[in-house]
C-alpha cells in the first residue's frame, strides 16, 4: 500500500508540473514571436518613389569576395524548377569559390509546413525558401523584409512586373508598402490553352469550321470564351479526339484557379467589380484573387461575388467543363490535367506552362511535338491567362542574409535566365528575362506572353491588389467553401444565382480582416 501512496504522490506532482509548464508556455506565447525584420527600423513608403541608399548593402560588382554557405528549400514536382536552381547554384559557386550552396528538396505537399516549421523554430536553415502565390500569406509574417535590397537596387524593381509582386507585398491602410517578403523569379502562365497542332492545322477542318462558325480555327485569333466553346463543340462533333477540351475543375485547387480565369475576363468589363483603371485597360493579365475584394467608399472591405459578372462567369465555366468526363465522375485536378492530355484523348487542355516539358516528353506522352500554345480565352483577348510566379524569400534568421540576397540577384539576372532557358527550359519572371528566354528556339512559345509582362510593369492601385493579403482566413475558410459551392453548381445541384448568393453571404459572414 505504501507503493500506491507514493504513486499517487508522484502522479499529483507530475500533473502539477505539467500544468505549470503549460501555463509557462502560454505566457511565452503571449509575448509572442515578433518576426525580426528590417520592417521595424524602416518606415519607408513606396519603393518606386523613394529608393534608399544603404551603405551596408553591397552591389554585385564586389561579389568576388563572397563566401559562406546557403541552403535552399526547393519544392519538387515542377520539372524545370529544381534543375534551374541546381544550375544556378553550380554557376554561382563557380563564380564564388568560397560559397557552398545546398539544395534541399521538399515534396510539394509538405513545403508549407516544412518551411513554416523552420521559420517558427528560428532555424538558420534553410536560408532561402521558395513558395507559390497561394502560400504567400502564410509566410508573410515570417519571411524577411526585402525592401532594403530593392531600395539599394540590388533587385531591379523596374524589371519585375508589379502584377507578379502583389502576393508578396504588404500595404498599410494608407497605401504605404510596409513589407516585401519575396521576389518572383519563375513565371508560370496559367491557364494557357494548349492544343494539338495536328488537329488545328488540318486544312479540311479549318475550312469547314470557318464555313460553319464564321471565324478561324486558330486560338491565337480568338477573343472570347464563346469562341473557344464553339471550337470545342465543333471538334467534339467531328470526333477528332475523344474529348474536345480538358478544363480544370479539380476539387482541391483547380476549381478555384480555373474559375478565376473565367471570372476575371468578365469582371474587367463589369463596373460593379471595379477593376482598377490601369489594370482594366487590359494591359496586365493579373487575374489574382484580389479581384474578389474591393473597398467600399467608407473604406470597409466588400466582396465582388455579388456582381453580375460572377454569374456570367459561372455559366460560362459550366459550359467549358462540358467536354470532359463530368465532375462527379472525375474532377480534373493538376494531375489529371497533366496526365490525361498525355493520352492523346483530348484536343485542347487549359494547363500551366510548366506542364509543357511533360507534354513534350515522348517517353510518356502521345502528344509530344504536337502541341501549340495560346493565351486564354484567345490571342486577341488574352486576359484569362494569369501570372503565377514562383517566389523566393529569405529566412530572417539566416546566417548570412546578404549572401542569400546576392544569390537571388544572380537567379534573376538575364545571363542566368538565358542559360536556364537554353539548358532546362526555365521560364523567367522578369521582363528582360522573358525577352532573353523567348530568343531560345525551344522557348519561342513565350513570345506572345512577353508583351503582357512588359505592359504590366506599372500598377498604381496596389492597395486594391494586395487587399486579399489582409484577409487572414481567405485560404483556410473561404476557399474551401467557394470550391464546394461551385462544384455543387457544376454537378447541377444548385443554380448559378443560389451559388452566387451562398458564397456572397458566407464570405461576408466569415471573412476575417487583419
Amino acid at each position: 500500500m505504501a507503493s500506491s501512496k507514493t504513486l499517487v504522490a508522484a502522479v499529483v506532482i507530475v500533473i502539477i508540473a505539467a500544468v505549470a509548464v503549460a501555463l509557462l508556455f502560454s505566457q511565452q506565447r503571449q509575448q509572442a514571436p515578433s518576426p525580426p525584420s528590417a520592417s521595424q527600423t524602416s518606415t519607408q513608403s513606396q519603393i518606386t518613389t523613394q529608393p534608399q541608399t544603404s551603405t551596408q548593402l553591397q552591389t554585385t560588382s564586389s561579389a568576388a569576395s563572397l563566401s559562406g554557405s546557403l541552403t535552399v528549400l526547393v519544392p519538387t514536382g515542377d520539372p524545370t524548377l529544381m534543375p534551374y536552381i541546381e544550375l544556378a547554384a553550380d554557376e554561382f559557386m563557380k563564380a564564388h569559390p568560397g560559397v557552398q550552396i545546398t539544395v534541399e528538396p521538399v515534396p510539394f505537399g509538405q513545403m508549407v509546413q516544412t518551411a513554416l516549421t523552420a521559420l517558427q523554430n528560428r532555424n538558420p536553415d534553410p536560408a532561402l525558401i521558395i513558395f507559390y502565390p497561394s502560400q504567400a500569406s502564410t509566410f508573410a509574417p515570417y519571411l524577411m523584409d526585402l525592401r532594403p535590397y530593392f531600395n539599394s537596387g540590388l533587385f531591379n524593381r523596374s524589371d519585375i512586373p508589379m502584377s507578379a509582386m502583389v502576393s508578396v507585398v504588404i500595404i498599410s491602410k494608407n497605401g504605404t508598402i510596409t513589407k516585401i517578403f519575396g521576389v518572383p523569379f519563375q513565371m508560370v502562365f496559367g491557364y494557357v490553352l494548349i492544343y494539338r497542332k495536328s488537329i488545328f492545322d488540318n486544312a479540311t477542318l479549318q475550312a469547314e469550321f470557318k464555313r460553319e462558325y464564321g471565324f478561324d480555327l486558330n486560338p491565337l485569333t480568338w477573343s472570347s470564351w464563346d469562341q473557344l466553346i464553339d471550337a470545342a463543340e465543333f471538334l467534339q462533333s467531328q470526333h477528332v479526339a475523344k474529348y474536345a477540351l480538358l478544363f480544370p475543375d479539380g476539387l482541391q485547387l483547380a476549381i478555384f484557379n480555373g474559375f478565376l480565369t473565367v471570372f476575371y475576363t468578365y469582371a474587367l468589363n463589369d463596373s460593379c467589380a471595379g477593376i482598377p483603371a490601369d489594370v482594366a485597360k487590359g494591359a496586365v493579365p493579373t487575374p489574382g484573387y484580389w479581384a474578389y475584394f474591393s473597398y467600399t467608399p467608407s473604406g470597409a472591405v466588400n466582396v465582388t461575388i455579388g456582381c453580375p459578372s460572377f454569374v456570367q462567369a459561372l455559366r460560362t465555366y459550366k459550359r467549358l467543363v462540358q467536354f470532359q468526363p463530368p465532375i462527379d465522375v472525375q474532377a480534373m485536378e493538376y494531375d489529371q490535367l497533366r496526365d490525361l492530355f498525355l493520352t492523346g484523348d483530348y484536343a485542347m487542355v487549359a494547363a500551366w506552362t510548366s506542364f509543357i516539358p511533360i507534354y513534350n516528353n515522348a517517353s510518356v506522352s502521345k502528344v509530344a511535338g504536337d502541341i501549340a500554345i495560346a493565351p486564354l480565352p484567345g490571342g486577341r483577348y488574352p486576359y484569362g491567362t494569369g501570372l503565377a510566379p514562383t517566389f523566393i524569400g529569405i529566412n530572417p534568421y539566416a546566417k548570412d542574409p546578404q549572401l542569400a540576397a546576392e544569390f537571388i540577384e544572380f537567379l534573376i539576372s538575364p545571363q542566368m535566365y538565358k542559360l536556364g532557358a537554353e539548358k532546362v527550359g526555365f521560364v523567367p519572371a522578369t521582363i528582360s528575362g522573358v525577352e532573353v528566354a523567348a530568343q531560345t528556339p525551344s522557348m519561342s512559345w513565350l513570345q506572345p506572353f512577353a508583351p503582357l509582362l512588359k505592359a504590366g510593369a506599372n500598377v498604381t492601385d496596389l492597395q486594391r491588389l494586395t487587399l486579399v493579403n489582409r484577409v487572414t482566413n481567405f485560404f483556410t475558410d473561404m476557399r474551401p467553401y467557394f470550391i464546394n459551392q461551385v462544384a455543387n453548381y457544376l454537378r447541377g445541384q444548385q443554380d448559378a444565382e443560389t451559388t452566387q448568393m451562398n458564397i456572397y453571404k458566407t464570405w461576408l459572414n466569415i471573412m476575417k480582416i487583419s
Binding site: L23, V112, Q252
Partner: protein
C-alpha cells in the same frame, strides 16, 4: 523495502505516460482559448474558437455530422459483417483467422491508398463499376468510401473479438440448447447472440473508435472530393494545425477529446460490466443448421473483400508506367515491370530507413517499459483499478490529441525534424497498448517464479531482469508486434514533428525524419501523383509488418485462441 523497487520498475513508463499525456490535454484546453494572429502572436479570444465552430464555420455542422456518421456507420457495418464471419470461423476452424486479420496489419495510409486506387474512376476498377452502371458517380467522392476503408481496417478486430466471444460459449450450454429444442438460427438468436453480446458490444466500441478518429482515408481521399467534405473533427483539427491555427485546432481537439472520453468510458464500462443481452427466440425461426457451403461462401466473400484491394495494388505496382494510366484500365500487367519499385525505392529509401529505425527503437522501448509497468501492475497490483482504467483510456484516445502541445515541446527542445522527436513521442501511442497486452499476459503468470528468485537471494530488479523477462518472451513478442505496427503505420506524429526526409548525406545526425507513411501520402498528392510509384510504395510498406506477423504468428494464435 521491496515495495520501493516495485514502484521503481514501473516508474519510467508511468512518469512518461503521465507527463506526456496530462500536459498536452491540459495545454489543449488552454490553447483553445487563443488565436494565432496574422503576425504569428497568440491572442486571447476566450471561447471565440468554440463559438466560431458552432456558429460561423460553414463546415462546423458538416464536420460534426461526418464525425458522428463515421463513428456510427463504421461499427454498425463492421459488427453486422463480423457476426456471420465469426460464425463461419467457428464452424470452419480458426486457421482461417490469420488471413482475415491481414488488414489490421497493413499501415492505415496504405489501406486507404489501396482502396482509392482500386476505386479510381479512370484507372481503377471504378471505371468498370461506372461503366456497368453500378455507380453513377465517382466512387471515391463520398463519405461512404471513408466508411468503407474504415470497415476494411476494423473488420478484423470485430471478427476476432466476436469470434472469441462465440468460442467462449461452453460446449455444454450449446448441447443443452440442442436438448431444449434450440438449433440453427433459433439457437443463434436465443443463445449465441446473447452470450456473445458483451464481446459484440466491445467490438462495436472498438470499431467506433476507429471510425471516430479516422484520419488516413480522409488524408488520402480529400483531394478527390473537395475540401472539408470528408473531414471529421480529427482531420479538421489537423488541417487547422498545419495551417498554423493552433488555437482553433486545439479547440477542435478539446471537443473531440470530450466525445472520445465518453466513448472510452463506454468502452471501459462494457469491458467490466459483462452483462448479457436477452433476446426472444421466436418459435417460427428455423432450426436447420446453415449449410457448410454458406459458411464457406461468407468466408470466401470476406477473403475477397480483404484481398481485392491488396491484389489490385500488387498488380498495379507491377505494371509498366504506360499501362497504369491507360483507359480503360487493364487488370493484368502485359509484362512484369519493376520500374515502379525502382522509383519507389529510389525516392523512398530515406523514408523507409527512418521508418525502420523508429519502428525498431520504439518497439524495443515500448516492450521494455511496458513489461516493467505491466508486471508490477498485474502481479503486485500497483496502481489498482484506477491505473488500469487510465491505461484503457489512453488506448482509446487518438494521438492527434497531443500534437499541438507536443509540437511546441518538441520545438522547445530543438529536436523538431529529428529522429529524437519521434523517439520521444512515439511511445505515447504504443505504450498504453503494450502495457494492456502484457497486463493481460501476466494474468496467467505464476508469481511464485519471482518469489522463488527472491528466495534465492536476488533483488527484485535482478529477479525481474533474470527471471521475469526471459519468461515473458511470447507476451513481449505480441506487444512488440503491436508497437511495431503502430510505429510503422504512424502518420500523424511524423506529419506534425518532421518536415524533411532523412538526410543520408549526414546519416549520424539523424536529422530529417519523415517516415514512409508520409512518402506514400506525398505520392498520392495531386501534384506529385504517380500511381505506379504509389502502388509500389504501398506494397513495400506492407512487407515489414507482414514479416513480423508471420514471425510471431504462433504466439498470436495462442492469444486469439485460434489454431
Amino acid at each position: 523495502m521491496r515495495d520501493k523497487q516495485i514502484l521503481f520498475l514501473a516508474l519510467p513508463a508511468l512518469i512518461y505516460l503521465f507527463a506526456l499525456t496530462v500536459y498536452p490535454i491540459a495545454d489543449n484546453a488552454l490553447l483553445s482559448l487563443y488565436e494565432r494572429t496574422y503576425e504569428g502572436a497568440f491572442k486571447w479570444v476566450g471561447l471565440g474558437n468554440y463559438l466560431w465552430l458552432f456558429q460561423k464555420d460553414p463546415y462546423g455542422p458538416l464536420i460534426i455530422g461526418n464525425t458522428i456518421l463515421y463513428s456510427v456507420a463504421t461499427p454498425a457495418i463492421s459488427v453486422a459483417l463480423a457476426v456471420p464471419i465469426a460464425l463461419a470461423l467457428r464452424r470452419l476452424g480458426g486457421r482461417w483467422l490469420l488471413p482475415l486479420m491481414v488488414p489490421a496489419f497493413i499501415p492505415p495510409v496504405t489501406a486507404a491508398m489501396a482502396w482509392y486506387l482500386m476505386l479510381n474512376p479512370l484507372y481503377g476498377l471504378g471505371y468498370y463499376l461506372m461503366k456497368a452502371g453500378l455507380m453513377g458517380t465517382n466512387p471515391i467522392s463520398s463519405v461512404w468510401t471513408v466508411v468503407l476503408v474504415d470497415v476494411w481496417r476494423s473488420l478484423p478486430t470485430a471478427v476476432l473479438v466476436i469470434y472469441s466471444g462465440l468460442r467462449a460459449i461452453p460446449k455444454a450450454v450449446e448441447e443443452a440448447a440442442l436438448a431444449d429444442g434450440l438449433a440453427g438460427p433459433r439457437k443463434f438468436i436465443a443463445v449465441d447472440l446473447p452470450l456473445a453480446s458483451p464481446q459484440i458490444l466491445t467490438a462495436f466500441i472498438l470499431t467506433a473508435l476507429t471510425g471516430f478518429f479516422t484520419f488516413d482515408p480522409i488524408y488520402i481521399g480529400t483531394a478527390q472530393v473537395g475540401p472539408r467534405i470528408l473531414d471529421n473533427l480529427a482531420y479538421y483539427s489537423y488541417e487547422a494545425f498545419s495551417a498554423g491555427e493552433f488555437g482553433y485546432s486545439a479547440a477542435l481537439i478539446v471537443v473531440m477529446t470530450a466525445i472520445g472520453t465518453g466513448l472510452s468510458l463506454a468502452y471501459m464500462k462494457a469491458f467490466s460490466a459483462r452483462s448479457f443481452v436477452k433476446l426472444p427466440a421466436p418459435v417460427w425461426m428455423p432450426r436447420r443448421e446453415a449449410p457448410k457451403a454458406l459458411h464457406y461462401a461468407v468466408l470466401a466473400l470476406d477473403l475477397a473483400f480483404v484481398f481485392l484491394p491488396l491484389g489490385w495494388l500488387l498488380l498495379m505496382s507491377l505494371k509498366p508506367p504506360g499501362e497504369i494510366i491507360q483507359i480503360p484500365p487493364s487488370v493484368l500487367p502485359s509484362r512484369l515491370d519493376l520500374t515502379n519499385y525502382v522509383q519507389a525505392l529510389g525516392g523512398g529509401l530515406p523514408y523507409f530507413l527512418m521508418s525502420i529505425y523508429i519502428s525498431a527503437i520504439n518497439s524495443a522501448v515500448t516492450i521494455l517499459l511496458a513489461a516493467m509497468a505491466a508486471y508490477q501492475m498485474r502481479v503486485h497490483g500497483l496502481g489498482g483499478g484506477k491505473l488500469v482504467a487510465y491505461i484503457l483510456y489512453l488506448m482509446s484516445t487518438p494521438t492527434l490529441v497531443y500534437i499541438v502541445p507536443l509540437y511546441l515541446v518538441v520545438r522547445g527542445l530543438n529536436i523538431l525534424n529529428t529522429l529524437w522527436a519521434l523517439v520521444l513521442t512515439y511511445p505515447i501511442m504504443t505504450l498504453p497498448y503494450g502495457i494492456w497486452i502484457l497486463y493481460n499476459y501476466y494474468s496467467s503468470f505464476d508469481r511464485r517464479t519471482e518469489e522463488a528468485a527472491l528466495a534465492d537471494g536476488m533483488s527484485r530488479l535482478k529477479a525481474f531482469a533474470k527471471v521475469v523477462i526471459p519468461l515473458s518472451r511470447s507476451g513481449m513478442g505480441v506487444a512488440g508486434l503491436y508497437a511495431f505496427l503502430f510505429s510503422w503505420g504512424a502518420l500523424i506524429f511524423p506529419l506534425a514533428f518532421t518536415y524533411t526526409p532523412y538526410n543520408l548525406a549526414d546519416p549520424l545526425r539523424f536529422s530529417g525524419a519523415q517516415t514512409f507513411s508520409i512518402y506514400i501520402g506525398e505520392l498520392m498528392s495531386p501534384v506529385a501523383m504517380s500511381y505506379g510509384g504509389v502502388a509500389a510504395t504501398g506494397i513495400l510498406s506492407a512487407i515489414p509488418p507482414l514479416i513480423y506477423l508471420t514471425a510471431v504468428r504462433r504466439n498470436l494464435e495462442k492469444i486469439w485462441g485460434a489454431g
